[in-house]
């Protein structure tokens, strides 16, 4: 056993490597901050009112649209007000997106990836005494039809994309109390989520059926403005993001191949930590795989779900890795066998598994169902919202348990190290230097992990703050959000890249000669001089494990038996 590269690397080389990686990190951050636009753009669209012919109300291939040849004749709000029945059951709210700007007809491109729509409702009641405050959970029934058209289609060539009659619960506040009418402004309601923005133009037709026997929409007075906000990913952000992925992907694959070859060159089967590293690299590669290129040609509505799953797998792997990393540096020696996940860590990892599964179920029941019905949202019904909150709560509890447990394990490792440190002075100089170096590097890695985690959290909070202060004429650079996203993404890539390099088995053959350790300066020599001590471990009765990855493990293990 020759240890890992981390232990055998000289301080100078290590610092060079670290500074190169830090430079890459800064580059990732700047890539997002300078080149990329804000991650998502939005259009706020006010519904146009069209009057409809009753004969075609149930025809789902008939669409009303507000711009282009054959557009419907729009009804003004004054006409609606003038009608005694406010044109009940005759009005269709039409949203045609995207909007024209700067004398150009804009169209969505496939670079814009996905589309999320939320609706804001304003309505008014007659301020007559028998009408009271609206209940907090008003049920709104909406007949929604989404259609699409491509740029080479005729203006009236709308094709149905999805149709559904959905219920939404509104939470409304009084915005104005007047002598004739009381106005209510409602919280926004989720309307639809499209995982693939595959077509050029979209059209949304909304109807609010009034029906007395079914008590449908009767609680609503007079609908005023309906505002749809359509959020899409910005094309520029997708390009920068894909560029980053395409650059990182070959590097990580390359370093994985290198790592695995190095492991296999050894005369032993790979250790658990090495397996974990390669799994982690695999999860990262799956995340890095620039699958989004396919969306430029294919319609892939499952991309939102897939990217959630990819991120989920990666984070689950990272969390498991930390746990096992800490565990492998502990001195649990339940059996002399090679430690595997099943034999030793299944209890530790159960929190991660439970958390991930509950998030997965939540995601499947939200974005999975949206594959069938883009208007579906689990949050729209009180029961669904409770179930969703339940899953998220479960995931949160698992996360809390996980972190408590991880902190406990790390504390234990440090405690062990601290305990054994007291016995260090009694060791020989070479051995002491060797172990001190090991402890230092273990701490160094813990520090790096903590730093990465802290930077992620800080970046997240910073992004939230910048958004929180967002005013409509802000001069705060909103690109902070993009910088945060690319920075964090690059950071975890670099982190794992560094782990794969530093935890690869070293090929430096320790010389058989024992140097005078006082005069050696380089770490390699110190480590080399410590090699003679290594033999001691192998004489220990319990130390039959040939596969321990670092000498620190063997050190702590040995001391435990002292």
């Amino acid at each position: 056993m020759s240890g890992t590269i981390l232990e055998n690397l000289s301080g100078r080389k290590l610092s060079i490597l670290v500074s190169i990686l830090l430079l890459c990190q800064v580059l990732c951050f700047l890539l997002g901050g300078i080149f990329a636009p804000v991650p998502a753009g939005h259009l706020t669209i006010l519904g146009s009112l069209c009057r409809e012919n009753h004969a075609r109300q149930n025809d789902t291939n008939f669409f009303l649209y507000s711009r282009g040849d054959g557009a419907c004749k729009q009804v003004t709000s004054e006409e609606v007000d003038a009608d005694a029945l406010k044109l009940a059951n005759q009005i269709v709210h039409v949203f045609q997106l995207p909007l024209p700007r700067e004398n150009k007809i804009l169209e969505y491109t496939r670079w814009q990836q996905n589309l999320i729509g939320v609706l804001q409702v304003e309505f008014g009641y007659d301020s007559s005494p028998e009408l009271h405050e609206p209940a907090k959970e008003l049920q709104l029934t909406i007949d929604m039809r989404l259609a699409y058209r491509n740029n080479d289609d005729a203006d009236n060539d709308w094709k149905l994309y999805a149709h559904s009659v959905e219920h939404r619960y509104l939470d409304c506040d009084t915005s104005h109390i007047g002598p004739t009418e009381t106005l209510y402004t409602c919280d926004m309601i989720p309307l639809f989520e499209l995982g693939a923005l595959h077509h050029s133009f979209y059209l949304l037709n909304l109807r609010f059926p009034l029906d007395s026997p079914k008590q449908m929409n009767l609680q609503f007075g007079h609908m005023h403005d309906l505002t749809l906000t359509a959020i899409h990913q910005n094309g520029g952000f997708t390009k920068v993001w894909l560029f980053l992925k395409s650059v990182l992907f070959p590097f990580v694959v390359g370093i994985m191949v290198w790592f695995w070859r190095r492991v296999h060159l050894l005369q032993r089967s790979p250790a658990l930590l090495e397996y974990m590293l390669i799994y982690l690299g695999g999860a990262l590669t799956f995340l890095n795989l620039p699958l989004e290129y396919l969306t430029l040609g294919l319609e892939m509505p499952y991309m939102l779900l897939l990217s959630d799953i990819r991120q989920g797998i990666f984070y689950a792997m990272l969390l498991s890795f930390w746990l096992i990393f800490a565990g492998e540096h502990m001195l649990i020696q339940d059996s002399g066998n090679k430690s595997t996940i099943r034999s030793r860590y299944w209890k530790h990892l159960s929190a991660v598994v439970v958390g991930c599964i509950s998030l997965f179920i939540f995601d499947i029941s939200e974005r999975g169902v949206q594959l069938r019905n883009p208007f579906y949202s689990i949050w729209t019904t009180p029961l669904g919202a409770k179930v969703a909150m339940g899953f998220i709560f479960l995931a949160g509890v698992s996360a809390a348990i996980y972190f408590l447990f991880l902190c406990f394990m790390i504390w234990k490792v440090f405690k062990n190290i601290g305990d054994k440190r007291t016995s260090l002075p009694s060791m020989s100089q070479a051995r002491r230097l060797h172990y001190e170096g090991l402890i230092y590097r273990f701490k160094f890695l813990m520090l790096a992990t903590l730093l990465c985690a802290a930077l992620t959290v800080a970046g997240f909070i910073m992004g939230q703050m910048a958004e929180g202060h967002w005013k409509w004429n802000e001069h705060i650079e909103i690109q902070l959000t993009s910088a945060f996203l690319t920075g964090v993404y690059g950071m975890w890539n670099i982190y794992i890249f560094a782990l794969l390099i530093l935890y690869a088995p070293s090929h430096k053959q320790w010389p058989s000669m024992h140097h005078s350790d006082e005069t050696t300066q380089s770490n390699e020599n110190i480590v080399a001089s410590a090699a003679s001590e290594e033999i001691e471990f192998s004489h220990l009765p319990s130390d039959s494990n040939p596969s321990e990855i670092s000498s620190l493990t063997s050190f702590t293990r040995k001391v435990a038996f002292d």
């Binding site: 004749k73 009940a88 700067e102 959020i231």
Partner: protein
């Protein structure tokens, strides 16, 4: 240069003061004729599609000033929004004043006459309200029309994003589409504000006190629209978490703005001429300035530029900075030139976001040309009663007390309250005693037939009963 700038402003202020003293009784503001377009399309329904036809209408031609005509011509679809806006202002004004002696009545549109009548010739509270509400309504209506898609020339807000590297080398139209693809086109209600300033404030050059009053009230109207905007956010990161969050601004219902303006009407400030200038307190931070004109590397700096340095006779809609009123919420107590000095870091900064659209020829003389109009928004009105607070940017100001509006006086454009309905039980202005100015009132009983107790069936049947209700109506003699 800065010192001379301030000096020129002071000189101009003195000149204005002199002029206004002389012409205090001069006629109404010249920018108010466009209100007439509210009545232009009346016989037929106006829809944004028919704007081409509407523009041919000679009535519009005579209503609008030359610059306004150009704006309408350059922005197809804007006319429909203007008509809507003018009608919105009228109906809101009539709603707010339905219980007062002056009920915001309009006259039939006649060539050369003002829509609201001769009351506009006087600088009284009511006039101030009309200016504020029309300006606010145009802002609101244009912003709405942009989000409805009925104006195609609405601008994109590119201030928050770096521009696509290729975009700057392309021809105008391609660049715009590329920008949209690269960084989206997040809505800016800003177009409404810019257009409102361009359109509504034409002709108000701020030369005399009355024009200053009009300008101030126009700005106040827009400030109220701006103050009532609300931010909304949506999280859409991984699994819907807040790692990615998008926020946007939402316009309030115009009724809310009308309520606020009415409250300001009740507390309006009477002003008189002043010598002090409203200085740079409202110099606007120009949003994002790209230091290299090519803009390809997207270095972003935040430059603060005095708005006036860029104001030009031909200020264009394509300016990407917001009108200064948007920033001007902290009062305007700043006096003296040092602030202007400190803000003028980049006197020759190239125009930050000049969009490649026809008509952005505006800013070629940035900072050096200081024509008359540069500071037309930079004045301070002093309260008539020196113990009162000076008017803030959202306050309505007036020059002379209102007439009683009791008796008909056609020479002053007052219709009087004869024949108005009143409320017998109320003690307020809508009460019959006050409304009828003590002349007495008449009691009538009428039977009103209304549809009531309607039942709906989807789809598509509505059945209603007819209900008769007896109502008592009081009418002023």
């Amino acid at each position: 240069m800065d010192l001379s700038y301030i000096f020129v402003i002071c000189l101009m202020a003195l000149t204005f003061a002199y002029e206004t003293e002389c012409k205090q009784k001069s006629g109404r503001g010249r920018g108010s004729m466009w209100w007439g377009i509210a009545k232009v399309g009346e016989p037929n329904n106006i829809s944004p599609i028919s704007t081409g036809i509407m523009y041919m209408d000679p009535a519009i031609h005579s209503t609008l000033r030359r610059k306004q005509r150009r704006l309408v011509r350059d922005n197809p679809g804007v006319l429909g929004a203007l008509v809507k806006g003018a009608n919105l202002a009228i109906s809101e004004c009539q709603h707010q004043f339905r219980n007062r002696r002056w009920n915001c009545s309009t006259r039939n549109f006649l060539r050369g006459k003002n829509l609201f009548g001769k009351i506009v010739d006087r600088g009284c509270r009511e006039t101030g309200f009309i200016y504020a509400i029309t300006s606010a309504a145009v802002t609101h209506s244009i912003a709405r029309a942009c989000s409805e898609g009925s104006i195609e020339s609405c601008t994109c807000d590119y201030s928050h994003q770096s521009r696509s590297p290729q975009a700057n080398h392309q021809a105008g139209s391609v660049a715009g589409v590329r920008d949209w693809e690269w960084g989206g086109c997040s809505d800016n209600i800003g177009f409404g504000f810019k257009f409102s300033r361009e359109f509504v404030d034409t002709g108000e050059r701020g030369r005399n006190l009355r024009e200053k009053m009009n300008l101030h009230n126009n700005e106040a109207g827009r400030a109220h629209v701006q103050a009532e905007m609300r931010q909304e956010c949506k999280c859409h990161g991984m699994s819907g978490s807040c790692t990615v969050k998008t926020c946007w601004m939402r316009l309030a219902n115009f009724r809310v703005i009308g309520d606020n303006l009415k409250a300001r009407f009740d507390g309006a400030t009477r002003v008189q001429v002043s010598n002090s200038l409203r200085q740079s307190s409202n110099a606007v931070p120009v949003v994002v300035v790209s230091p290299n004109a090519a803009g390809s590397s997207q270095g972003v700096a935040n430059g603060l530029l005095p708005q006036s340095a860029f104001e030009d006779e031909e200020r264009m809609l394509n300016d990407d900075h917001m009108p200064e009123l948007l920033m001007d919420n902290n009062g305007m107590a700043v006096i003296g030139g040092h602030q202007m000095l400190s803000k003028q870091h980049h006197p020759n900064m190239p125009s930050p976001n000049s969009l490649p659209v026809a008509g952005s020829r505006a800013r070629n003389g940035n900072g050096r040309r200081m024509g008359r109009k540069h500071n037309r928004y930079q004045f301070q009105l002093n309260p008539h009663n020196p113990e009162h607070k000076p008017p803030g940017p959202k306050d309505i100001v007036y020059l002379e007390p209102s007439p009683s509006f009791c008796e008909k006086n056609l020479r002053q454009g007052i219709l009087g309250t004869h024949g108005r309905q009143c409320n017998e039980t109320s003690l307020g202005v809508d009460g019959c005693d006050l409304m009828c100015c003590g002349r007495g009132y008449r009691r009538d009983e009428v039977i009103v037939v209304e549809r009531c107790a309607c039942t709906f069936h989807w789809c598509c049947e509505v059945k209603c009963k007819l209900c008769r209700t007896k109502k008592v109506i009081y009418t002023c003699l």
